[in-house]
Amino acid sequence: MPDGVLTNTTEQLTTLPITEIGVETILYIVSIIVIAYLLVRVISFVLRFVSEKIPGYRHPITMLIPLLKILIYFSALYHIIFSIFQPDIAQLVAFFAVFGAALGLGLKDLFSDIMGGIVIIFEKPFQIGDKITFGSYYGEVKDIGIRATTLVTPGDSLVTVPNYLVFSKAVSSGNAGNVAMMVIIDLFVDPESDAGAAMNILKEAVVTSKYVYISEKFPYTILLDDFPYYKRIRAKAYVNDLRNEFEFMSEVTRRAWIEYRKLGIRPTSYRFPEADRDNFNSSFTKQARQDRD
């Protein structure tokens, strides 16, 4: 920063009309913080409640939460600043210049997180309710905060991921704001098995599932891959609500295997290497599989 500008800024700030900070001002600031916090909680609660009642619009409604959070917290900050300094425009600009520099130097990570939060809100690489892989975590986005994003993993663990990761890590969203999400279900059968019958049964297991959603926009596919020691029958279909992802996989797999046994279609006897053991006769989400592949 050139010396002249720095001198000017310093002069502006030293002449800030700071009000006398008494008990009243402190109470005012505390009440603003409390009101802002309560407002955020109430609005979040109401919007979440409403979104659960209208599943089709869950994502658009919940995406208002982080936006309102930012608006409320910034307006609270604005009121706090004005209650202490009562600056004019030039002084306000000068204040934010120095405040920004301080953030850049001392609170770099926090500032990156806040900027990451703003980018997430406006660019929407994912939304509240999406199933995403963020960093090394996979789960449903529960909250997008000013500083961090909260995910709930399939194991029901709550993971807090700093927002700045959005600048450096790839984020994959399985549903991109939609309630329906593609799920991939793999069944591994003996190579001697009747692949046509196996595909047909898996197809019917998918399309008759209580969790499936099929339309022109959400089609389903059944694929066969022939490996030396097994055949992989893969179904790609959309689950009607991403929260039913694992139930969908489980239901289709169970029903398909019951029918396979009736027709003498056996699982492969091939023993998968330890690293791929969980691949065998199980299913993965699109995201998880992409990560693994």
């Binding site: 599943p55 089709g56 329906a180 008759t208 029903r255 029918e259």
Partner: protein
């Protein structure tokens, strides 16, 4: 039992039916259709011919049949919600052409009906075709067989389907490719419902506006403010919203009772003529009908996924037996327990051994299942 609800749309149901085959499960009954309310056979009914609300759809279907007679072959699918009167529509078609009619009355488990198709007339009416498929592994055999026959046949098939079965089977089995001519029976407006009701009850009904202020709703309309553009002689209309409070403060300005009754009937029935008729029957104290007697019930639709799934199956099949439901549900779902809950909430009713959607709940059920993507 014949699924058609003849009294909904017509007062006459075809003395000129050429032949009728009614199919109940795997049994074939060769007989003329019976009016389920009167027990009269189709031959005996000679009342005045009236069709309300779906005149355009009937013309569309007739035109497609005429095109077939001139050599342009397009199989027809008539698609509607339960109680909407699609069976009545095909009865009208059956009177005008030499047809064979097959009406399915429950889930088809055998392919015997295919042999009937071989000997049938060139125009075949198949009513309630959603009974050809069950949502379970191996549940599409009859439908596949039918579609195989249809794809090799020169005959014209006029079929009727439940709306949600049609959408589901179109997504799963590309049904819409086999039936290029799709005729949907859309909800009726208040005026058509009024014509239909008056045709049955006569026009000496006394309408009473006895409702609470619930129907005196605020309305917003657009008013015009004329503005002369500066430096020009042109006058333009600037629309602005106008909040009409008079409906609250001035009771005299309300619409007439008759209009209010039919508006409410339309709203409560969702424009479904069969449901409107049932609601009307339940509300009228002949010859009087009060606005307050047409009640808009609310239903608890906070259901588990299993209950919602069963509800969806009942909606798409329209009527189904416990055994068929259990087959579709599989061991994961306790069908009897779920049905008990659905019946307790008055979403489902039991009629002659079949589970059906409670007609009053149809609107709520559709809305709930669509929102949750259990039907589409």
């Amino acid at each position: 039992m014949h699924l058609c609800l003849p009294y909904l749309l017509c007062l006459h149901a075809g003395k000129e039916w050429k032949s009728g085959i009614y199919v109940d499960g795997s049994k074939l009954n060769h007989r003329m259709p019976e009016d389920e309310t009167t027990g009269e056979s189709g031959e005996e009914r000679e009342e005045e011919e009236v069709l309300f609300g779906y005149e355009e759809e009937l013309k569309e279907a007739q035109s497609a049949v005429n095109e077939y007679l001139w050599g342009k072959h397009k199989n027809i699918a008539i698609v509607s919600d339960p109680f909407a009167g699609r069976s009545t529509l095909v009865e009208y078609l059956a009177r005008d052409y030499l047809t064979t009619t097959i009406a399915f009355n429950s889930v088809m488990t055998e392919k015997a009906f295919i042999s009937t198709l071989h000997d049938a007339n060139n125009i075949i009416i198949m009513d309630n075709c959603h009974f050809l498929a069950m949502r379970k592994i191996g549940g599409f055999a009859q439908l596949d067989e039918f579609l195989r026959f249809l794809s090799k046949s020169d005959k014209l098939f006029i079929t009727t389907w439940n709306t949600y079965s049609w959408s589901y089977l179109s997504a799963v089995k590309n049904l819409d490719e086999f039936f290029p001519k799709v005729i949907r029976l859309h909800p009726m407006n208040a005026e058509s419902l009024k014509k239909m009701i008056i045709s049955h009850y006569g026009d000496n009904i006394k309408y009473i506006d006895d409702a609470a202020s619930k129907d005196r709703r605020l309305s917003i309309s657009w008013k015009c403010v004329h503005i002369t553009i500066p430096f020009s002689s042109t006058t333009r209309c600037l629309p602005w919203p106008y909040l009409n409070l008079s409906s609250i403060f001035h009771k005299k300005k309300r619409e007439n009772a008759e209009q209010l009754v039919f508006d409410r009937l339309k709203r409560v029935s969702g424009g479904n003529p069969g449901i409107a008729r049932k609601i009307w029957d339940a509300s009228i104290d002949y010859p009087k009908i009060g606005l307050s007697s047409i009640k808009e019930p609310t239903f608890d639709t906070d259901l588990s996924i299993n209950e919602a799934f069963l509800l969806g199956i009942i909606l798409t099949m329209e009527k189904i037996e416990l055994g068929d439901l259990a087959e579709i549900a599989g061991p994961e779902i306790d069908v009897e327990e779920s049905l008990y809950i659905l019946m307790n909430r008055e979403l489902v009713a039991r009629e002659e051994g079949y589970y059906i959607i409670n007609y009053r709940a149809l609107k709520s059920v559709k809305s709930y299942l669509e929102l949750n993507r259990m039907v589409w």
